[in-house]
Amino acid sequence: MPALSVQDLHVRIKDAQILRGVSWSVEHGQTLGIVGESGSGKSMTVLAATGLVGPPLAQVTGRAVLGAPHSSGRSSGGPDGPASATLPDGGGQDLLTLSPAGRRAVRGRRIGFVFQDPATSLNPILDVERQLTEGLEEHLGMTRRAARGRALELLEMVGIPDPERRLRAYPHELSGGMRQRVMIAIALSCDPDVLIADEATTALDVTIQAQIIDAVRDLQERLGTAVVWISHDLGVVGGLADEVVVLYGGQVVEQADVLTLFAQRSHPYTEGLFASRPRLGSAGGHLTTIPGSPPDPRSLPAGCVFYDRCTLRSDPRCATHRPELVPLAPGHLVRSFCATPVRDAPLDPEETA
């Protein structure tokens, strides 16, 4: 069963429909990339799923199922098989039906977070030690002393030299890359099953960005953590993810494993994101952009939400009907009337059922 799966997640803030039925899942040890431009709802899926955004501000419906811990060493067959047939959770817990205290106990313990700007996401007036140890004390009941020892290990693990000294440092005394490593150490402190990186490298220099990505990949291999990597940059996600979900206007518009998505991208929006990746050596220095802007979640168009910006629109239903997310090939889902199957393989009837 997946480490974390989100099913039919809807989020409404006042009269704005931020998410409209988003589903995705990430397996233990795998990386899911969530891509989309600002306002596509990519951060909202994880914030709402984990209770960081919720009532009274936002109405959240759907399910966010956290799988059984990967360290428990259960086998995939046996009693788990029939159980998962009857129980849709298959032994996991739906975070959205948990009490706020229950969700709190999961955050930091089983789901770790790394946010965009390490300069502001660390508390400026607390030293690194305090910010690293407080989660350990809260979730693992460690004493301050034990937590300090663990904090030293964690700093070493994320590749911070001279951890003894860094432990006493304040965020402003560290470089941007170092701060983000501290954030990663915090996120991984309680050995979570899922690491959520929300634009974790966006605020960093390109070289630092690469180092952070390498560090996360390396740690994931060693710890077997599932990673949800959220980025507007398809290039970054392409280098990291096993599976990619492309969000637009609060819905998944394309989903596939990373190779398929890159080789056989079918949704015009994915194509636009692909074309607008900044690349070295691109002549002229101009970046390709997707013309237009994302739809206003307070007044969505009647037809396809990408209609205004679409380069393919040709189907008479485009302006009047909303396309469903349908399989184009096994494991490759697209929400468009106009996407053409790249390989002309017939659709497996079992997949469409």
Binding site: R107, F115, D127, E134
Partner: protein, 314 residues
């Protein structure tokens, strides 16, 4: 440590500047202090003798150095009116002012801290609106009017508290408390209203900060998130306003002291100015300036303690 020394040195330089201004005061205002001190008993010989005795006939620079020298040894001259040493007069008034200022600050903090934090946490709700309206009224109400309302209620109508007067804290703490209550509340409600608004907006600002979301993402208890990551950060800028309020109250609050017959520095200065008792005015201004600097120094040092970024940026 270097920061502390630098900051203390800074305060001393400012204090030196204050002595120049205070010294110049006597020589810039119209009217000859000795003549005024003699009043109707003017006699040219006595006048000349007094001028010589007080050094007023010597060059200004020499006078200033002499003034500074004696000020350093605690000699601030002699009151023209009573003939008492200014230092003695000031020290006799200081306990009343300090005890009232501290009591006023306590009232202000007791009011402002919970209300400000509560209001920010219930941002936009009816309770927040009520707190904001009440604090706006508190800021706007003149202190003499508030003082009179309190006297009418607690002294005239209910008869619980004496309407005015002062008993030193060291003599009778209970009587002191009974007498300090109304002036302290008067001061505290005004200062507290101002602080409430600052605390509210500061907490609100921090609540929206990224690091608070990080704290929530760690799954910390709400109490820990609020105490360690919200309120603590929010109080850093509030320290300044608390310092200013305390310094203002220490500087003597003339109206409140007059209304409650509180023998503090405010009334002393008022009387001294009216009587052109320059040595007393000089001494009081110097003392008030020194206290102001001291409060600011303490605030800055506290700042550096709670916010590690300060030491670097100065």
């Amino acid at each position: 440590m270097a920061f502390v020394l630098r900051r203390v040195g800074h305060s001393l330089v400012v204090l030196l500047g204050v002595t120049v201004v205070v010294f110049a005061l006597v020589h810039l205002v119209p009217g000859d202090p000795v003549r005024i001190a003699m009043g109707t008993r003017y006699d040219p010989d006595v006048y000349a003798a007094l001028r010589e005795a007080s050094g007023l006939d010597r060059p200004l620079l020499e006078q200033y150095v002499a003034y500074l020298g004696s000020a350093l040894t605690g000699d601030l001259g002699v009151s023209f009116r009573s003939g008492e040493p200014v230092t003695t007069i000031l020290l006799s008034r200081l306990p009343a002012t300090v005890s009232l200022a501290v009591a006023g600050l306590v009232v202000a903090l007791v009011v402002a801290f919970p209300l400000g934090v509560y209001s920010a946490l219930h941002h936009g709700k009816a309770s927040d609106v009520i707190v904001r309206i009440v604090s706006q009224v508190g800021v706007s109400v003149p202190d003499f009017w508030m003082a009179m309302l309190l006297i009418l209620l607690f002294s005239s109508t209910l008869g619980w508290l004496p309407p005015s007067g002062y008993v030193p804290l060291t003599e009778d703490p209970v009587e002191w408390a009974r007498r300090v209550a109304m002036p302290a509340v008067t001061l505290g409600l005004v200062a507290g209203s101002i602080m409430t608004r600052y605390i509210r907006s500061s907490v609100l600002e921090v609540l929206g900060a990224d690091h608070v979301r990080t704290a929530e993402s760690k799954g910390l208890r709400e109490r820990v998130v609020l105490g360690r990551h919200v309120v603590r950060n929010a109080l850093v800028p509030v320290l300044t306003i608390v310092g200013v309020q305390l310094a203002t109250m220490l500087g003597g609050v003339i109206v409140v002291e007059v209304v409650f017959a509180w023998p503090g520095l405010g009334r002393l200065v008022l009387d001294a100015v009216a009587a052109r008792d320059y040595p007393v005015v000089q001494g009081a201004v110097l003392l008030v300036a020194a206290m102001f600097l001291l409060v600011n120094l303490v605030v800055d040092l506290l700042y550096a303690r709670v916010d590690p970024r300060i030491k670097v940026s100065r």
